[in-house]
């Protein structure tokens, strides 16, 4: 497994937000992480990349325990986290933003999103929302990650842009990347995912094939309401 999580507990302040979650993310596929607002999805991703400390449990990255490792160490071990809210460096140009994360040249990024090459000298703060999302995704990929955590990529973007980003993520997974995708539009995420995880109130209430949730919308509804047991 690329990423394995065992009994993870994460708190914000004193309040536990993620309560004993276990799952794994295999290479070469997208795993969708769904759930209602406040379920703990973003908190979980932040604990995986080291933004928040884990209170209990283990995080394994390619067979190495990393829950105590620094953010930089996790990034260098092959974990990339694209945060919610398009975290560009606004006063840096597109090119400079890409250089921050790059391990070699920028051609790969411009190959994925040619529109970024046309605007390479423009400060990232002046890009449209869609271009900014492309930029943060491309920037993360230039670090040559093996596990990619994506948090609410589609937030506030036009449907066409969202579709394009989803297609890109699907292609990346097909090329061998392990992707954990948090997404508000469940049908979009399930459309490209093989596995799905559903969280409710900090617990994992569904872990199984994504197609099962697509075929039976009632199942997804039950999961969102927390009426399912893990593995149902």
């Amino acid at each position: 497994m690329s990423l394995e999580v065992r009994g993870l507990v994460v708190a914000r302040g004193q309040a536990p937000v993620v309560r004993g979650v276990s799952f794994s993310v295999p290479p070469g596929e997208v795993t969708a992480l769904l759930g209602p607002n406040g379920a703990g999805k973003t908190t979980l991703l932040e604990a995986l990349s080291g933004i928040l400390p884990a209170q209990e449990g283990e995080v394994w990255l390619f067979g190495v325990r990393v829950e105590r490792a620094s953010r930089v160490a996790r990034a260098r071990a092959g974990l990339a986290h694209v945060e919610q809210g398009r975290a560009v460096f606004p006063s840096l140009t597109v090119e400079e933003n890409l250089w921050v994360g790059a391990r070699s040249g920028l051609e790969e990024a411009f190959g994925l999103f040619p529109e970024l090459e046309k605007r390479r000298r423009v400060p990232a703060g002046q890009l449209s929302g869609g271009e900014q999302q492309m930029l943060v995704l491309a920037r993360a990929l230039l670090g040559r990650p093996r596990v990619l955590l994506l948090d609410e990529m589609s937030l506030g973007l036009a449907p066409l842009v969202v579709r394009r980003l989803m297609e890109t993520v699907e292609r990346l997974a097909q090329a061998g990347l392990a992707v954990l995708l948090v997404e508000q539009f469940a049908h979009l995420a399930l459309g490209i995912a093989r596995q799905a995880l559903v969280m409710s109130q900090g617990r994992l209430v569904y872990s199984g094939p994504a197609q099962a949730l697509l075929r039976e919308p009632g199942l997804l509804q039950e999961a969102y309401l927390g009426r399912l047991e893990v593995g149902a």
Partner: protein, 284 residues
Amino acid sequence: MLQAALAGLLSGGAYALLAVCLVLLYRMTGTLNFALGATGVFGTFVMFSLHERGGPLGLAVGLGLLASVGIGGLLGWAMARWFAEAPLQVRSSVTIAYLIALLTLGFWIFGTNPKPVPHLVGFGGVELLGLRVPFATLVTLGLAALLALGVALFLQRTRAGVWLRALAERPTAAELLGVPVQALTVGVWAFAGGVSALAVMLIAPNRSPEFGVLSLLVLPAMAGALVGLFRSFPLALVGGLGIGLIEGVASSLPIAPYRQALWFLVMLAALLWSQRKEVWDAAR
């Protein structure tokens, strides 16, 4: 009066060196470093002490610079380790605490008596338009200009410079991309510590060589940095030099005893200018 203004340029060059470092620290780490002067003074006193004991000047200067680099880096490490997410007020307050600690340590180690001060630069000078410009002034001005230009180019043209600008905007996002934020932060603080020592070593022969007095050099430097609103390196350079010039001119006037308070007026003017829109809107 021109000769007096010229004499003020030595102080101005030192203020400019410190002002550029203050801007660098503010822009890259979001901190007003009140301990910058004391950091430089500590290294300068290490240099004084070694030289006083018969050590060669070059070695004494080198070890003095190294001491300030270490002291600056130590504060940077503490900032990166414990105050990385803290707001500006907290981080700046930490530097005030560090200033007090350095003053205490300085008085304890070096005593309160003034030290014999070696001149880093020879006593000679050059004639320029009928005015005598000492070598020390030329060296200090050259270093200040070089520092302002060098730092600006470094931030624009190098990979580490881009990393520093990135971490100044979003430290967490930079870390998630594998940028060694802690090492860079310590590096910036250590560099500023070294430059501050150089500035203090250059200006010390013209000042009362007391630990506490020299530590307050950070205040006119802050006034200089304020001219560029803690954002612009060229304006911080101009601000530092301008304050030195004003002090120099004032030394030949009846207000000479109060000349070192004149930078309060510079600070006031810079603050009013920065708030001009609000002030004029309120007046309307």
